[in-house]
Amino acid sequence: AQKVTQAQTEISVVEKEDVTLDCVYETRDTTYYLFWYKQPPSGELVFLIRRNSFDEQNEISGRYSWNFQKSTSSFNFTITASQVVDSAVYFCALSQAQNTGNQFYFGTGTSLTVIP
């Protein structure tokens, strides 16, 4: 069975602090994809990153960085020097790697509030 756990329901940080959002997943597949999406207050889902299960290299994009560790089945997301605009709900998701219409398994989301 596929499952994504985001244990942190809500996090509040003061602007310019770093914050890490945790994501732990379960899957029996050897090939899969992991994702992070941002949902701002306006409600849309914004794609942030995809990671293939064979690629454990960490990634940095501006103030965002992701730490993928297969050994612990984790795919954590860090925002450096947080800003008020980072306030949103962040979802981690898992997708199977078959080629026919894969579904995404979403975590329950972490609501991040950045206080000015």
Binding site: L45, F47, G101, Q103, F104, G107
Partner: protein, 111 residues
Amino acid sequence: EPEVTQTPSHQVTQMGQEVILRCVPISNHLYFYWYRQILGQKVEFLVSFYNNEISEKSEIFDDQFSVERPDGSNFTLKIRSTKLEDSAMYFCASRIGGGAFFGQGTRLTVV
């Protein structure tokens, strides 16, 4: 930048009425999805669509729901007889590989 477009952005309907939620996926994408998110809850999978047919569906996607790609560009979700518990944000998504791109969502309110 190409995007997935959903209409309407907000729909209010009476219980028992039929609704059709519309989506225009990104043009060269091959896989299409509908998800829903009840307020404050997680995003739940409804159905995936590939090669003009449903490839997977969840338990939520019962006989009240149907999907169609009527003209090769639009992708619709129909709810035949809406219930109060169908009130949610409905997201359409498409992908060709890599990350799925989600539309901005349609907020469905059943009264």
